[in-house]
Amino acid sequence: MTATLSAAEQTRHDDQAAAPVTMAAALNAALADSLAADERVLVFGEDVGALGGVFRITDGLTTRFSEHRVFDTPLAESGIIGTAIGMAMNGLVPVVEMQFDAFAYPAFEQFTSHLAKLRNRTRGRVALPVVVRIPFGGGIGGVEHHCDSSEAYYAHTAGLRVVTPGTPADAYRLLRQSISCPDPVIFLEPKRRYWSKETAVLTTEGPAIDQAVVRRPGQDVTLIAYGGMVATALEAAEAAAGEQWDVEVIDLRSLSPFDDETLVESVRRTGRAVVVHEAPGFAGYGAEVAARLTEQCFHYLEAPILRVTGLDVPYPPPHLEHLHLPNADRILDAIARLQWDDHA
């Protein structure tokens, strides 16, 4: 059922000159190219049709690919995930949208009890190549329930892959990779970066779906980030150069599975690490990162691995969110606390 790529898509892959592209446009292109490349791919969710999604990520797709392939559903998240499971059982590749992070919670049972487990339950006989796109995180002045960082819930669930892009080019690559992946993928889109631009060629070539990448090489400390915090980490790394710290920034890309190899290599080399995320720190994803790296790098570490996270509070209202979210200053403070003087 796999169709050949249209001339336009071929051009995008082979001959496209690097051009400025937003993450939103890159995601839209990834959906369009996946729909064009594989007839089994469907896109559905709330307001993804005529409206093109509340963030316009699915803009124009219904017109181009018909209502049979890109369509609005009733307003019910468990219904969306549950029916996506049934469609995948019947040979289709659903790419569904949850409108906002916190609005995915009604589907929690379908995520954890079925989407994550059906392959295991049936000893591999039932594969569920479902992609769930979820705009996540804060930084856009959203009111309550629109800014959650929900990654730990999914990453804790065996059987789900959890990925999140940090750049527009990677948004295209990771989404195409996720749609091609035989496992269910929770695709977390850092909504504060939808309008960030990068001059890039959109391609699926590059790091695999489960690989972390070094966004900025450095020798003194490994700064680990993902999603919306990648740009913040890079900003902090530039500022740290002024303090004579040569900071390496790693974009995790895949939260589950975790790329131990890339991370361990870096941390053993630098001897120091800070992990950054927007979500509250308590029992958060950063705790897993710090624990794994401590277990594997203990004798190489010059200082405890520190976490820079959101506060352990429910997500704040718009006028207070800047106090909650990690920024470059908070990251630099953490880097400064990495026991630089102990061996002086």
Binding site: P74, G79, G82, Q110
Partner: protein, 371 residues
């Protein structure tokens, strides 16, 4: 062929409401029912097969209950009393249709042809699902309530999108109608006109909670109207009525006319599972009254009166069921064969590096005798 859209409508024109009383083809005394609604009596060969499969299913069910007492099964939720629903609904499916069963629907699964050892894998505890869903077109038995309704709608809608003639039958209980997923599934199926049949086996209890505490609705079937889904209220202890209602609904779905909600009134004769004590929440005379309305006895009486079944045939059917039970006993009396590799092999399409490390560590533990 049984239909209700082409003959006297079971769902009256202009209304999606079910009948006021459960439709029957054969009454509780085994006589032709006075008001079959739009249901039509299945042909003789089907009636005999319904009887045969119910006798086998009943024997399988009692054998499984006995196996729990011997410790051979971890748990068994019996469907005794719901035999007509289990067998009538499953036999009404075509070979290319799909069945979405729950944990209480083991008899439906073996009626569909799943090997008993594979069907009992979940309840024996050697794996969560022992059969290949694609081989039998039977989804894994669903333990969470009502979640399978959405899977059925999705699978059926996918068939529509692919222009495939496939209908999905999903089994659920009265308790499951209180779950949100049931409402979402009925709603999605109505909007999409998905080829789905919802069969609610209203057996009176959700573990210990009676229907009166589950809903204020006059019937569960009546819930269909809110979703634009036509519904049928039937006597769930009448195998002919179950078969007729489900096959008519399957045909209706296959014609592109969308979903049907069927409520079948039946009774869970046994406790919720072997771990439950039903005497804490219901009186034994209630159970006795339902035993007198046994679905197998009812069909047997009808078939004998119609001259389609004699004592010799009844004895043959019983002997066949006994052979089946013996085979189940033999299969379950063997040692449980489990593979530790199953823990890691199918979490993802390819085990992750971290899982491979855990596999190696577990194997080392086992070699050391620590496990």
């Amino acid at each position: 062929m049984t239909t209700f859209a082409d003959t006297e409508p079971a769902v009256s024109a202009g209304s999606l409401l079910p009948s006021a009383t459960p439709l029957q083809l054969i009454d509780a005394d085994g006589r032709p029912a006075e008001n079959p609604g739009g249901l039509s009596l299945p042909e003789q060969g089907i009636l005999l097969e319904l009887y045969r499969r119910m006798v086998i299913g009943r024997r399988f069910d009692s054998q499984a209950t006995a196996l729990t007492k011997q410790g051979r099964l971890a748990v068994y939720p019996s469907s005794r009393g719901q035999d007509a629903c289990q067998v009538g609904s499953t036999l009404a499916l075509r070979s290319h249709d799909w069945l979405f069963p729950t944990y209480r629907d083991s008899v439906a699964i073996i009626t569909r042809g799943v090997e008993p050892a594979e069907a009992l894998s979940l309840l024996r505890g050697d794996w969560h699902c022992g059969y290949d869903p694609y081989q039998y077109r039977v989804a894994p038995q669903c333990t969470p309530l009502a979640t399978n309704t959405l899977h059925a709608v999705g699978l059926a809608h996918a068939a529509s999108l692919k222009n495939e003639d496939v209908v999905a039958l999903v089994l659920l209980g009265d308790g499951a109608t209180s779950e949100g997923d049931t409402h979402e599934a009925l709603n999605f199926s109505g909007v999409w006109k998905a080829p789905v049949v919802f069969l609610v086996q209203n057996n009176g209890y959700a573990i210990s909670v009676p229907l009166a505490k589950q809903t204020a609705a006059s019937t569960l079937a009546a819930k269909g109207i809110g979703y634009g889904v036509p519904s049928l209220l039937i006597d769930g202890n009448d195998a002919a009525a179950v078969y007729s209602a489900v096959s008519a609904s399957v045909e209706r779905a296959a014609r592109g006319q969308g979903p049907t909600l069927i409520e079948a009134i039946t009774y869970r004769v046994e406790a919720h599972t072997n771990a439950d004590d039903a005497t804490r929440y219901r009186a034994s005379d209630e159970v006795q009254a339902w035993l007198a309305r046994d679905p197998i006895t009812r069909l047997e009486t009808y078939l004998k009166a119609a001259g389609l079944l004699d004592e010799q045939a009844i004895t043959r059917r019983a002997a066949e069921a006994e052979q089946f039970a013996e085979r189940v006993r033999d299969l379950m009396n063997g040692t449980v064969d489990v593979n530790p590799g199953d823990l890691f092999d199918h979490v993802y399409a390819q085990p992750t590096a971290a899982l491979e490390q855990q596999r190696a560590a577990l194997l080392a533990e086992m070699e050391d005798g620590a496990r």
